[in-house]
């Protein structure tokens, strides 16, 4: 039960930050330079969240770390290509 509520808290954190990033995208939708910084913020937040989450669960190893870093980078690049042109 404790484990479940801990997960819930961590997922609530990621959902809350997603809402904040969505809001930032909405208010800066016409300023692509600012959106590029927000995009970087999204990726860095996600990588930190993933690493912290895995570490708290005692599952952090090289492969899990690579997965979060790789996925964060991929998502950054996906958004970056849409923002660059």
């Amino acid at each position: 039960m404790v484990e479940k509520s801990k997960h819930l808290m961590e997922y609530l954190l990621i959902i809350a930050f997603s809402m904040v990033f969505l809001y930032l995208f909405y208010i800066f939708r016409s300023q692509k330079d600012i959106l590029k910084i927000v995009n970087l913020g999204i990726s860095l937040f996600y990588i930190s969240w993933g690493l912290a989450h895995a570490a708290l669960e005692g599952r952090l190893n090289r492969l899990v770390a690579f997965e979060y870093i790789g996925f964060g980078t991929m998502v950054f690049l996906t958004l970056h290509i849409a923002l660059s042109f």
Partner: protein
């Protein structure tokens, strides 16, 4: 059981030994679904695949940057921006907050056109030219004696409405749009090739003349709109860049729609959405299939990856529009 029956039975190990291709076909599904025995994600979501995706995105970005150098004008931005709409939307915005309408001034319009042509010729995108020429230099050169003046710039937009919306959303540009210091405005909408991309530049110049008697009349405004309006056939202006670079093509974009062979805004957005959709679908499949088969994998959280990807797709789909303002 006769041997021939065993060899046709897919539950028999001999069937798979005799039909290695069928085995391959069966294994193919694990490119898309998590493996129940190996307890791994789909091959297309493996670490190697993520690395390949990153490299692919780099490659596509590189192509979008390289193509304009080799084939200038192939990639660009489709545009249907015109002065009449820009003036109407500007004044609509001012009206909403109770401000007086701006009159279209011939000298400010001329200054805006010169600024746009100058940006194409010298291949820059800024308020101040590389040689230090400022917006006020264009205004003064055209004989507009002002007390206050301002400039808004936009490029790569599809419609006049999008241009105004972008300016309105930016506090510094909105300050210009809704300033009580200005009585007049001039616009330029110019097509050309900037940095190898076929694009449309929009220049908006504001001013208040030193003498109130200089303020443009309704007749002057009408004649400018007629001159720049729907009936005018655009005359291409040819110029060669001073640094001996590729030829700079500049064209007044009074009313004609302009479209490059490939619209870069649409292309980059499509690539991002298609890629995001593909990886998102694989992640959704992973969540569903793992739950269905009770597969516990020692990996990162797929649901978290999916949440992030959905966030990115929503941002691209709803908030990213072509166009840049400064």
């Amino acid at each position: 059981m006769p041997l021939s029956t065993i060899e046709k039975n897919p539950t028999s190990i001999k069937y798979w030994r005799k039909n290695p291709k069928a085995l391959d076909k069966f294994q193919f599904i694990y490119h898309f679904l998590p493996h129940p025995e190996k307890k791994t994600r789909a091959t297309l979501l493996s670490h190697k695949s993520i690395l390949v995706y990153c490299l692919l995105i780099f490659l596509v970005t590189g192509l979008f940057r390289l193509i304009p150098l080799v084939f200038p004008g192939v990639l660009g931005y489709a545009s249907d921006v015109n002065i009449r709409d820009l003036l109407t939307y500007t004044n609509q915005r001012r009206k909403v907050v109770g401000l007086s309408e701006l009159r279209l001034n011939a000298k400010l319009t001329q200054a805006a056109e010169e600024k746009a042509v100058n940006m194409f010729e010298k291949n820059y995108w800024a308020h101040v030219a590389p040689d230090g020429t400022e917006p006020w230099d264009f205004i003064l050169r055209d004989g507009y004696d002002y007390i206050y003046a301002g400039e808004n710039l936009a490029k790569n937009f599809s419609t006049s409405k999008d241009v105004l919306q972008a300016w309105y959303d930016s506090p510094s540009h909105r300050d210009n749009l809704l300033s009580t210091n200005y009585d007049e405005v001039g616009f330029a909408v110019q097509n050309g090739i900037l940095d190898g991309y076929e694009t449309t530049l929009v220049v908006q110049m504001f001013g208040r003349p030193r003498s109130p008697s200089q303020i443009a009349s309704v007749f002057e405004e009408d004649s400018i709109l007629k001159e720049k309006g729907e009936n005018k056939i655009a005359v291409p202006i040819a110029a060669v860049s001073p640094n001996g670079g590729p030829e700079v093509r500049v064209q007044t974009a009074s009313s004609e729609k302009k479209s490059a062979i490939v619209d870069l805004g649409v292309a980059s957005k499509t690539v991002s959405l298609a890629f995001g959709g593909f990886v998102g679908s694989l992640l959704a499949l992973d969540v569903w299939y793992s739950k269905k088969k009770g597969i516990l994998k020692f990996t990162g959280h797929t649901f978290a990856h999916l949440t992030l990807l959905v966030l990115v797709i929503v941002c691209i789909w709803f908030f990213i529009r072509p166009g840049v303002i400064i």
